[in-house]
Structure formats: C-alpha cells, structure tokens
C-alpha cells in the first residue's frame, strides 16, 4: 500500500506517532543523500517512537478502541481463515432462498483438525463493503449460520465463529423476513449442539447481530475489539439525545475487552501486535490459531453433554443484581 493511502487510514490518535516516523524517515534520507552518520540519532528517535506507540496503545479510550476495531485494514474473517487453516472450502446458502454475503462459512482443517468456521464478513474495499452490506447480516445470514452449525454438529466438527459486525441489518426486508426470529433461533439452538463452540470477537461486536453467532463454550476477544449492547453513537442519540456524545456513551457502556472480562462476560483476551492487529496480521492470526487450538484441546476432553451443561451454566451466571431483605 502506498504512503498517501496509508495516511488516509490513520486514526487521529496515531498521528503523533506517524509524524515521528516520517521525521525519522526524513533524517534517514537526508543522511543518506549527504553521506553523514546519524545512526545514533535515529536509534534514539526509534526508541522514542516505540515508547510513544506503547504509550498510545496502552492507554486507549473506549472510543479509540472502537476506532481500531473498525479500522478499514483490520483483518477480517476471511483473512484469518486464510491465514490459520491448512485447507478450507466456503459453503453457501441458507437453503431458504438466500446467500447472505455478510456471513461467510465453510469447512476446513485447523492444524490437521476438521473444523467449521463461520463469521461476519466486512468488505475489504468500498465495492466489496457494499456487496457485503458492511458486515451487517440479514435474516438469511443467521439462517445460513444455523444451517452450517447444524451440519457441524452432525459431523462432529467443532464450531469456530468470528464476530465482526456493526449490528444486524435494519432494513425493510430484514424485518419482513424475521430478523428477530432468525437471531432468537440461533441463540436457542446454539445451546443444544454437542460439539465445542468457540466464539471470537475479531473486530466489532455489534449487539444482537453479534450475539446471533456468539453463544459458545469459550468466548474470546481480541485486545482492541469491542462488544456493545448498542452502537455507542445510537446509544448517545437515545440516552443523551445527542449523537455527538458517542465517546461518552462508549465510555459508559463498558465495551472493551478488559471491561467485559472483568464483568465475567468474556473468558480470554487475545493480545494484539503493537499498533493493532492490522499492523501485523500474520502475528494476530498466529495468536488466534494458538488460542483456538488450546480452547479446542480443553473442550474435546469433555463429553457433549458436559459441554452443553457447562455452556448453560456459563450463560446462566451472566447478570449482576442484588436480593433485598423481604
């Protein structure tokens, strides 16, 4: 990718870092052209850049995490599938008249082990994004996911889901074809599969649209991914009557991986390469692969009934309330 294109995709908070990096580049070019040794200076500046990067990425606000989660170059479901599987074949269609491109799924092998992988798929560029509806699934997408999960359960393939959607699609046809029913059915059915289910939020976990493929034995989140009950902008519009209060809502809603871990809603946070998954997708994919394999290794030690019971107990415990004296 050329430089100008990269700059366009810089997030606000990355700018000081980008400026420093371009200064280093300038000095290096200048030195080369004039044949001067500036390696000491460059070492210093590079150390400063590393430190700055660490500072920035270790103290991101929830809104900045959200921006990273939505980063246009963030690895998508198909990117990860390509990177982690030995082989894979995409399977299409809900068998009810549609094939929603916002959800992809298929069978393949992960480190020699047969698996079913499915997830939301955002586009890799504008045209692709339009075709894939920005990863916002229609009822047909959830029904395709269900059909594939039923298939996996019959053939004893573990189910790996990758979550990356702003929200379930809110259109006329989505309502007409039962968006609510499609998601609801998945929530219920995912509790009756015997095979291991591991769900990973790889980018944006957008409310019911995310949960519709998000019931599993292990729930994992990439470090800079988010999971929210509603898009923070929409929440701001409703609760603050001001869509500009998105950052405030993002804060209040507790959407980061760390927050969700401490609320008992997540099991594992997958660390990302410094600068976010998009700065080193191969490294992110390796982390994902290792985490999936170790989760599967644990889950295969249980019987199908045990997995179902534990999955039930896991979600059964979710919620915080008190009991008052009568």
């Amino acid at each position: 990718m050329n430089d100008s294109k990269r700059k366009l995709q810089l997030l606000d908070f990355e700018k000081p870092l980008a400026e420093l990096e371009s200064r280093i580049e300038q000095i290096r070019t200048l030195a080369e052209n004039n044949d001067v040794d500036v390696s000491d200076q460059i070492h210093q500046l590079e150390a400063r850049a590393t430190q700055l990067r660490q500072e920035i990425f270790s103290s991101l606000t929830p809104m900045q995490e959200l921006q990273l989660a939505r980063h246009p170059r963030r690895p998508s479901t198909l990117d990860y599938i390509q990177a982690i599987t030995d082989e894979w074949m995409e399977l299409h269609g809900d068998r009810q008249g549609t094939d929603d491109p916002a959800v992809v799924g298929g069978v393949g092998k992960l480190a020699g082990q047969p698996v079913l992988i499915l997830g939301h798929q955002k586009g890799r560029d504008t045209k692709d994004n339009v075709a894939r509806n920005f990863g916002m699934a229609s009822p047909g997408g959830y029904r395709k996911a269900l059909r594939l999960m039923e298939h996996a359960n019959r053939f004893n393939l573990p189910i790996l889901t990758f979550i990356d959607t702003p929200a379930a699609w809110a259109g006329l046809e989505a309502e007409q074809y039962g968006q609510g029913e499609a998601i609801a059915r998945n929530l219920r059915e995912m509790f009756q599969f015997d095979v291991p289910i591991v769900c990973t939020v790889i980018g944006e976990g957008g409310s019911g649209g995310a949960l519709g493929i998000g019931v599993g034995d292990r729930l994992m989140m990439f470090e800079h991914s988010i999971y929210s009950v509603a898009p923070p902008e929409a929440c701001a519009a409703i609760l603050w009557r001001d869509a500009q209060k998105g950052p405030k809502a993002a804060d209040a809603l507790k959407i980061t991986a760390k927050d969700l871990l401490s609320l008992g809603l997540m099991d594992t946070i997958l660390p990302e390469p410094m600068g976010g998954a998009h700065s080193n997708p191969i490294e992110a994919a390796q982390t994902l692969k290792q985490s999936l394999l170790s989760a599967l290794d644990e889950l295969w030690r249980l019987s199908g009934q045990e997995r179902r019971d534990l999955r039930y107990d896991k979600f059964r415990r979710m919620g915080i309330f008190t009991q008052i004296a009568a």
Binding site: L187, G208, V229, W240, G319
Partner: protein, 306 residues
C-alpha cells in the same frame, strides 16, 4: 378528587362526556381513547379489559392488571420479588441509572420491569411472566433476564406451560453487555424447557421490539399477538433512515407479522384468557398407558376373582 367532589361537580353541570374537564381524566375516572378520542368511564373500560368500546383500540395494561385479567382469582403466587438492579456499570447519562431506578420504583411500585409467578388459568397451572412497559420502557437488564430465566426453569421443573406477556423496548442500555447476554440466558432456559416438550407461548403486546424480539418473544411453540401491537427488531425510525422509500402503513404491526408468518394468531384481549386455556388443554399430553391405574388399562381386571 374525592368521590364527593365528583358528585358535586356533576351536579353543577352534568357535562357531556366529550366536555369532561381534563382533571377528571387525569384522576382516572374517565379515560380518553388515544386512537378515536372517545371518553369512557374507566370502570366500564376495565370491565372490557381496557379495550376501547368505540373502536376496539387496545390500550396499554400493566402487569398487575394483566395478571388479574389472566389468572384465576386468588391463585397467583409471585416469584423472586426481592430481586433488584444494582447499577454494575455506575452508568450515568443525563441522569444516573441508580437514580432512574429509584424514580421508576417509586412511580410504579415495581422493583423492575417484569413480574413473574405461578397460578391457574381456568384451573390449569402455569408459570407466567408479565413485562411492564411503565418501568423504563420494559427494558431487559439483569433482573428481567434473571427473573424470566428462573420462571422458565420453574416451568420446566413443575412440568407446566410458560407464558410470557412481552412489552419491551429491548435491552436496557444502562447495564451494557450484561443486558445483551440476558437474551442468550433466557433462550438457554427455553431450550431446556423445549427439550422436554413443555409448552411455551409468548404474547406480543404493544410494543415488543429490539432484544426481546430477538430472543424469547420469537421462540414460542405458538406465538400470539394483540391487535395492532408494534412488533419488530429494529426501530421503525432506524429502518426509515436506512431506506429512501416510505414504509408500508402496517409495517411492524401484529397484522404485518401475521401476514409474513411470524405470529400464529392475533387474539383480541377479551378472548386471550380463554384462548390460552384452550391451547394449554389441547397440548396437555394424554396420560401415558404406563402412568394409568391398572383398572383403567384393563377394566376387566377388577372383576377377576381371586
């Protein structure tokens, strides 16, 4: 206003119903139909289960009244009435969530947005949950999710049907992801109930939207709705924003869902109790042969001489 005041007022000038002073409406003596504008004596309206006598408009009824309408007198026994929300996120929008909760508790006399319990309906036992739209728009947070899950588990234990009267704007944003996960939790409990072939019937009342629609509202073995109730996943305005064309007038109404195959029947409120009882009776499993007393399997057995 006391009853005496009311009589005094009436003697002064017995006005035509249309000319009732606003005060009487506010005091609840008379109720104005928000659909056709007709003023009806509230007691008459209550006798008709809050369905307008002029235009059949189904006015909102809240949990106490709904329970009274559906459950045989003296058979209701509330469950988990001591559960309260506790603001785990320390959430504050224009107002702090804990204050908001307190306000709604004082205003409604409820602890949260659902009442659950067991009782009889035409003598048939059932587990009933009734959401209450007055309490933060019937939104589902940890308490609503927990109470409904316990209710469904109770239904499974007691081997009885579960009925949930839905009325909700969706997940309660003030509890963030804890609210979203209640959708999965209630669906899990319904999966177990269903695995035993026990009956579950949600009743969709105005309005049933968002996360409730995308979980237990749509998971019924049979799904009933009240006439003209708004039922949908995304809010109408959100859908309008994503489209340029105008939405059909009946979009996201009970009738629209019936047309598109997502609701089994629209049942006017005055027939709801009888309809539920009828459905429960039809689905009551016949006793298995092995469960019957020997005399019923083989009546002749009694007459066999020793």
């Amino acid at each position: 206003m006391s009853l005496f005041d009311w009589f005094a007022n009436r003697q002064k000038s017995s006005p035509a119903p249309q000319a009732q002073p606003e005060r009487d409406i506010a005091d609840g003596l008379w109720t104005k139909c928000e659909s056709c504008g007709a003023l009806t004596y509230t007691k008459d309206l209550q006798t008709n289960l809050m369905v307008c006598l002029e235009c059949d408009h189904h006015m909102r009824v809240f949990s106490d009244e709904r329970i009274h309408q559906l459950i045989d007198d003296g058979t209701w026994s509330g469950l988990d009435e001591d559960l309260v929300a506790c603001d785990p996120l320390k959430f504050k929008d224009r107002k702090a969530y804990c204050e908001r909760l307190q306000d709604y508790q004082e205003k409604t006399g409820l602890r949260d947005a659902v009442q659950t319990g067991t009782g009889l309906i035409e003598g048939l036992p059932l587990a009933l949950g009734v959401m209450d739209f007055r309490f933060m728009g019937g939104s589902m947070g940890s308490v609503v999710g927990e109470k409904l899950t316990r209710l469904i588990e109770k239904g499974t234990q007691e081997r009885c049907p579960v009925i949930i009267v839905c009325a909700s704007g969706g997940a309660r944003m003030q509890e963030g992801m804890l609210s979203l996960m209640q959708m999965a939790k209630t669906s899990a409990a319904l999966e177990r109930h269903r695995a035993h072939n026990f009956l579950y019937i949600p009743i969709l009342t105005h309005p049933t939207t968002g996360g409730v629609t995308a979980s237990f509202a749509m998971l019924g073995d049979m799904i009933l709705a009240e006439p003209r109730a708004t039922i949908g996943f995304a809010g109408r305005r959100v859908v309008e924003q994503t489209l340029r064309e105008k939405l059909p007038d009946d979009f996201q109404t009970a009738e629209y869902l019936l047309d598109h195959g997502f609701v089994d029947a629209i049942v006017p409120r005055p027939q709801l109790k009888a309809t539920l009882a009828r459905l429960i009776r039809i689905h009551q499993p016949l006793p298995k042969v092995s469960d019957m007393p020997t005399s019923q399997i083989n009546p002749a057995a009694e007459h066999v001489s020793p």
